[in-house]
């Protein structure tokens, strides 16, 4: 007999979108509702397909900001599932740990919440016993590995592990409840339902060790369509199907500007690329456009106005398009070659700048970046940032010198 369940994590309900600037006011609500929208899509899918159960692996809320409305929506979702008699297994993650002082909404009977200890919950599906293991974060940070607390699977029944954490040694995210793939495999579970990492990925197939990713991307680093997995375990083998849920998608499009001479050409190319994207994905999108293949003519064209102006022109063109598509960023993959005279002027400046150390960089930028008032809103600059700034500096200087040339 097969067991079918839905695996989702990192709902981060009612969290704002980050890094979106100058978004039109009238569309803000759409943006704001998108996490709910995605969650609603998820619940709807569950109600329609009636899975045997559902696992939610942490970070339902955003912790720092957990709105009552978010909790109410979640409660409503759970109640809808209760009505449909769909059991839910739920573990809280670092963002919605158990120690939080926030008001807790009562969840219906069908929801089984894991406590801070790793425990086993059982459910019988058409005669098959399903063992589900998991724990909730007792507090904000769980730095130590929790993997040892998971028992090794028994011979009978299906075993599913719920774990909100990251792989040991992966520094790209804050490290929580670190684990190794091997350690997980050693438990001989049929499916490892992971949470915490927002990028959809499988660390291992067969048995699958899976991050379903979040339901809704919330900044440009969470690109592409997001959703959840519908998992079927049949004869001890788990297969999964991705189900998209996002109502708005972040994406990056590269646009070749080869041969672009006039603003009209450029707008047409951009519009075509964006329209093409819309036609293909049928979803509201926030896109970053990267201009590539910029030749002399195109460079000259782009120099005619600053980036903000190009962006606003483009936004205006795309304003009336449906589904809604918002161009959030415009970047140029510039070749920094120019004539000797300008080069000879620029070189000493660049030479100077390239010799700067991180401290020097920080010194240079301290007025804003170390300003007591702005510190709370700015993240500490990394080397990547410095490089990006340097690139920008080069572009600025070249533009300025060409103008004065």
């Amino acid at each position: 007999m097969d067991v079918r369940f839905l695996h989702t994590a990192d709902l981060h309900l009612d969290t704002p979108f980050k890094g979106v600037t100058h978004f039109p006011e009238e569309k803000l609500a759409e943006l704001r509702e998108s996490t709910f929208q995605a969650f609603s899509t998820f619940i709807q899918y569950a109600l329609e397909t009636k899975p045997d159960f559902i696992v939610i692996v942490g970070d339902i809320y955003d912790g720092a900001h957990r709105s009552l409305r978010a909790q109410l929506k979640f409660q409503e979702g759970m109640e809808a599932l209760a009505e449909a008699e769909i059991p839910v297994f739920l573990s809280y993650g670092n963002h919605d740990h158990l120690k939080g002082t926030w008001t807790r909404f009562d969840l219906p009977e069908n929801v089984t919440v894991f406590r801070e200890e790793v425990v086993r919950k059982r459910i019988t599906v058409r005669g098959e016993t399903v063992n589900i293991f998991g724990f909730s974060y007792p507090e904000r940070h769980v730095r130590e590995s929790m993997i040892d607390a998971y028992p090794v699977a028994e011979t009978d029944g299906i075993h599913i592990g719920l774990l909100h954490g990251s792989v040991e040694g992966d520094e790209s995210h804050a490290v929580y409840a670190p684990f190794t793939k091997e350690a997980l495999l050693a438990k001989r579970y049929h499916y490892w339902a992971l949470g915490h990492i927002h990028k959809r990925q499988a660390l291992h197939e067969n048995p699958p060790i899976v991050y379903p990713g979040n339901l809704q991307g919330r900044h440009r680093n969470e690109q592409g369509m997001k959703g959840f997995y519908e998992v079927t375990i049949e004869n001890g083998k788990a297969t999964r199907q991705f189900v998209p849920a996002s109502s708005i998608v972040f994406d990056t499009l590269s646009i070749s500007c080869a041969g672009v001479e006039h603003a009209g050409d450029w707008l047409a190319i951009c519009e075509e690329a964006l329209s093409h994207y819309q036609a293909k994905h049928h979803v509201a999108a926030i896109v970053a456009l990267e201009m590539v293949d910029i030749d002399e003519q195109a460079a000259a064209l782009f120099r005619q106005s600053n980036r903000e102006e190009w962006l606003s022109v483009l936004r205006e063109v795309m304003q009336k398009k449906s589904p809604f598509i918002w161009v959030n960023e415009l970047t140029y993959a510039h070749s920094l070659k120019t004539n000797d005279a300008i080069q000879s002027m620029m070189n000493p400046v660049f030479d100077t700048m390239e010799q700067w150390t991180t401290e020097q960089w920080e010194d240079v930028l301290q007025d804003v970046y170390q300003h007591t008032r702005s510190i709370p809103y700015l993240e500490r600059l990394t080397n990547e940032d410095f490089e990006a700034i340097q690139t920008e500096v080069k572009r600025n200087l070249m533009t300025e010198l060409i103008e004065r040339g």
């Binding site: 979108f17 100058h22 803000l28 400046v349 004065r404």
Partner: protein
């Protein structure tokens, strides 16, 4: 880089000129206006381009309009031998660079050759005049540094501009304590949003306590609800009991009452029957009254019958209607006749020229009978006859005149007798006659005397008679007259007595007696003559007589005419005609007068008839008005009559109908009276049955009957209501019940109050929690915050890029200053020391960024305080030091336009020594002082004014 040769095609005053230069020091000497500066400008123009036409710089285009530009042959340490050629072309000229290896380049190649130096950068170090040197003193360090350091990095100005621009843009983005720059604004916005978010969080923190309180309130409400229910039940029981109390009491009362009511009899349906009869009776009586009323009306109608007479009168009037109309039309025609007659009268009057008032009467009464007409005709006829007679007489007169004329003619032929004869003859007859007369007279006288005496006596007698009468009647007048008369008669009688005449006659008779025959002969002759003459005269006299007679006749006839005319006049005067009109129109006048009289008469007649008729009509009109008893316009008289007649006849008919109706009504009336009697009998019977006399009693009996029935019914109802009810203590009063209930109600009111408060609180709490649950403001704020933050980050990045660029440029400049400037300064110091022969041994930069020099004694002088020449020397030192420092990157020749004029010999000498030692650079020195060339030992001297002579032009 050394310039080897200048080939000028055409530039300013120079054309076709070749100047060879030494790689070392070249002194170009020439007087004013010999073209030194032109050569210097040639070099700069060819290397850096002709100035644009609207530039302040001179272009030095040849005035002759020939070739413009030229070549510079030079040797560069990197590029070897090159030729830079610039000729007329685009504004800056067309430039070509010919390299040693045969390559030909354009501007790009030239830029490389010139190490990207532009003219300004070049001039700031390598080419200067006295004037440019002097400009230095106004510079501060930064500017000076900038100028000096421009040497090291081409386009430093641009970089500095970029830096300034970045600084400016940064200012627009961020200021440490600013408000308006974008980042500051964003920060404020973020802070505000954050505050708002905090507020939202604070609000949502109220959720849990609110929910807690909600539960409490709900519990309390539950308790209150239960309590209220208990009270309500109690209240209901009490209410039922209280309700029963009066019922039971009432039953007792009713039962008592029933007993007191006597056993009376009342016929079944008595009231209905009675009332039915009474209703019928009322109806009958009403009908009777109505009929009587109608009878009265009819009678009233019949009262108006009296006017039969009037009707008859009207009928008569109507019969006479045509007569009336005839009268009216007759009146109208009479009126017309009258008008015509008046018109005629007027015409006639006008023709007769008489006035209405004055002459009218006279004229109208005048006799115009046939007889009068006859009389008129007679007068007229006689007048006509008279006129005819006069005509005849006149004709006869004329004949007589002719006769006379003929007689006068005949008379001339007769002889006249002598005078004496004539006298005698003449006297004779007279005498004879006197004789005859005397004879006759004497005879007559006797007879006459007798006659006279009788008359006289009779007269006297008469007088006496009269006198007697006078005396008798004592009328002395008469007496006097009589006496007078008698006297007169006497006197008269005396005179008659002519006795002398008789005597005379008798004498005469006596004288002429005897002479008679002679006398008779003479006389006969004379008489014949005379006869002849007399005959003639007689005839003449006859004719004259006739003529006189005729004249008399004429006078008489004229008298008659006159009389007749007068008669006629007076005749006409009778008719009011003055004067005598022409005879012919008189009859016409007469006729007209007659016609007028006729008209007048007719008019009178017509008037009379008209008056009569009018009176007649008026009478009739009055009659009608009398008959109609109202004023009626004459025109509509008969309309009114007819109308009235119609009304009268209608009325008559109505009356007829009324009579009939009255009979009918009287019949009905009798029937109704019979019915009334019948009904009254029935009522009597009913009263008898009930044993009452009056209607009031009858009704009273009915009421008693009714009350009995009602009490029975009520008792039945009460019995039904009280079935199954427990007996209650009838001793409790309603008031006591009320008090008990009031207490319960008060308790309930208190509970209600509590409940109301709690319900309100619950509502508020529910509202609050619901609001919090559905509050989107929070997430909206969150999103806004994130967006603002993203914008802030983006702005910060933007700022960072600008800041980094500005910092990099600043740092680079600082590096230049810190590393390069001290070296340059040191070299400058050395040169300055040498130039001033050790008077000043240091050049330093003050804190404020100004140059100062330090004298041997250690005194510090700002450059501006130095003497003119010393100042210039300081700057030259700086420039040379600078040029030396950058010789690697800028190995350009140094061109000087007489900057040493202020130098004394000693310093000039030092200067030339320094330059002599400056072998790294080519020097091109322009001067107007011939002696200057002597300062350099190894200098090549070129006298500008003689170039052409010496070297000629050969391109």
């Amino acid at each position: 880089m050394k310039i080897e040769k200048l080939v000028i095609y055409g530039f300013g005053k120079h054309d076709n000129l070749i100047i060879e230069l030494d790689p070392g020091i070249n002194v170009l000497y020439g007087h004013n206006e010999s073209g030194k500066t032109t050569i210097q400008q040639f070099i700069l123009h060819v290397l850096f381009g002709f100035p644009s036409r609207n530039s302040t710089r001179l272009r030095y285009e040849p005035k002759s309009g020939g070739r413009y530009g030229g070549q510079i042959h030079l040797h560069d340490p990197v590029y070897g031998k090159c030729i830079v050629e610039r000729v007329r072309g685009k504004s800056a000229g067309d430039v070509k660079v010919y390299f040693e290896n045969g390559e030909v380049g354009e501007q790009e190649a030239l830029n490389k050759l010139l190490r990207q130096y532009d003219r300004a950068s070049f001039e700031s170090i390598f080419s200067f005049s006295l004037l440019q040197l002097q400009g230095f003193e106004k510079m501060n360090e930064q500017e000076l540094s900038r100028t000096l350091l421009a040497s090291g990095t081409t386009g430093v100005d641009h970089l500095l501009q970029v830096e300034a621009s970045m600084e400016k843009e940064m200012d627009g983005l961020f200021k440490k304590s600013g408000r308006n720059p974008e980042l500051n604004k964003k920060l404020t916005e973020l802070r505000k949003l954050e505050d708002a978010l905090q507020e939202e969080v604070r609000k949502s923190d109220q959720y849990a306590p609110a929910v807690e309180r909600l539960k409490e309130v709900e519990g309390q409400l539950g308790t209150i609800h239960l309590e209220k229910e208990a009270y309500e039940k109690n209240l209901r029981t009490l209410a039922i009991e209280r309700q029963q109390l009066p019922l039971q009491q009432k039953r007792a009362v009713l039962q008592e009452r029933l007993i007191t009511l006597a056993d009376t009899h009342f016929p079944a349906d008595g009231i209905q029957r009675y009332e039915s009869i009474v209703r019928q009776l009322d109806e009958v009586q009403a009908t009777t009254v109505r009929i009587q009323e109608e009878v009265k009306q009819v009678e009233h109608l019949l009262d108006e019958r009296a006017d039969q007479e009037k009707l008859l009168t009207l009928e008569q009037f109507i019969e006479r209607e045509s007569e009336w109309h005839r009268s009216l039309s007759a009146l109208a025609s009479l009126k017309m006749d009258r008008e015509q007659l008046i018109e005629q009268e007027n015409q006639l009057r006008v023709r007769l020229g008489i006035q209405m008032d004055e002459e009218g009467t006279e004229l109208l009464t005048a006799d115009v009978s046939i007889r009068k007409e006859e009389e008129l005709y007679e007068l007229l006829e006689s007048l006509k006859d008279f006129h005819r007679e006069i005509d005849i007489i006149e004709r006869k007169q004329a004949e007589l005149q002719e006769e006379i004329a003929r007689m006068e003619e005949r008379k001339q032929y007769v002889t006249k007798p002598s005078e004496k004869d004539m006298q005698q003859a003449e006297q004779w007859p007279k005498i004879r006659q006197q004789l005859a007369e005397a004879k006759a007279y004497v005879m007559i006288h006797d007879q006459q005397e007798n006659n006279f005496k009788t008359i006289l006596f009779s007269l006297l007698a008469f007088m006496l008679l009269i006198a007697g009468y006078g005396i008798l009647s004592k009328q002395y007048g008469i007496l006097f007259i009589a006496v007078l008369g008698a006297f007169a008669a006497f006197v008269w009688s005396k005179r008659q007595k002519t006795n002398e005449q008789v005597k005379k006659a008798k004498q005469l008779l006596t004288h002429y007696e005897g002479q008679e025959s002679e006398m008779e002969a003479v006389f006969e002759r004379v008489r014949l003559y005379d006869e002849e003459k007399e005959n003639h005269e007689e005839r003449h006299g006859n004719i004259e007589m006739d003529s006189r007679n005729l004249a008399t006749s004429a006078r008489e006839i004229e008298e008659k005419i006159h009389q007749t005319e007068w008669s006629l006049q007076s005749f006409l005067a009778q008719y009011g005609i003055d004067g005598l009109p022409s005879a012919t129109i008189i009859p016409e006048l007469f006729r007209m007068i007659r016609a007028l009289q006729e008209v007048m008469r007719q008019l009178g007649h017509t008037e009379e008839r008209y008056q009569q008729l009018s009176i007649d009509i008026q009478q009739k009109h009055e009659e009608v008005e009398q008959a109609l008893q109202q004023a009626v316009p004459k025109e509509a008289l008969y309309e009114w009559v007819r109308k009235e007649y119609k009304i009268m006849t209608t009325k008559a008919r109505q009356q007829q109908t009324a009579i009939e109706k009255k009979q009918q009504l009287e019949k009905e009336l009798k029937e109704k009276e019979a019915l009334t009697t019948l009904l009254q009998e029935q009522i009597e019977r009913l009263f008898k049955e009930t044993a009452v006399e009056t209607e009031e009693a009858y009704y009273h009996a009915h009421q008693i009957e009714q009350e009995k029935l009602r009490i029975d019914r009520q008792l039945e109802e009460l019995a039904a209501q009280l079935i199954g009810q427990p007996a209650i203590d009838l001793s409790l009063t309603d008031e006591q019940f009320e008090n008990m209930m009031e207490e319960i109600k008060e308790s309930m009111a208190t509970l209600n109050q509590q409940q109301k408060v709690l319900v309100e609180e619950k509502a508020i709490l529910l509202n609050q929690t619901n609001a919090l649950l559905s509050d989107e403001a929070s997430s909206q704020l969150q999103q806004q915050f994130e967006m603002a933050r993203a914008q802030f980050i983006a702005l910060a990045k933007k700022w960072a890029a600008k800041k980094a660029l500005a910092s990099a440029i600043q740092q680079m400049m600082n590096d230049l200053k810190e590393k390069k400037f001290p070296a340059v300064l040191k070299e400058a110091e050395r040169l300055f020391n040498r130039l001033t022969n050790g008077r000043y041994d240091a050049m330093i930069m003050t804190e404020e960024g100004y140059f100062e020099v330090v004298s041997k004694s250690g005194m510090r002088f700002p450059i501006i305080e130095l003497s003119q020449a010393t100042k210039e020397q300081a700057y030259i030192s700086l420039r040379l030091a600078l040029a030396a420092s950058i010789v690697e990157t800028a190995p350009f020749p140094i061109m000087m336009d007489d900057p040493f004029v202020h130098f004394d010999e000693q310093r000039l000498s030092h200067m030339s020594h320094i330059i002599d030692g400056f072998t790294t650079h080519q020097f091109i020195y322009f001067t107007c002082q011939e002696s200057m060339k002597n300062n350099w030992h190894e200098a090549t001297t070129i006298k500008v004014s003689t170039i052409r002579n010496n070297q000629g032009a050969n391109v």
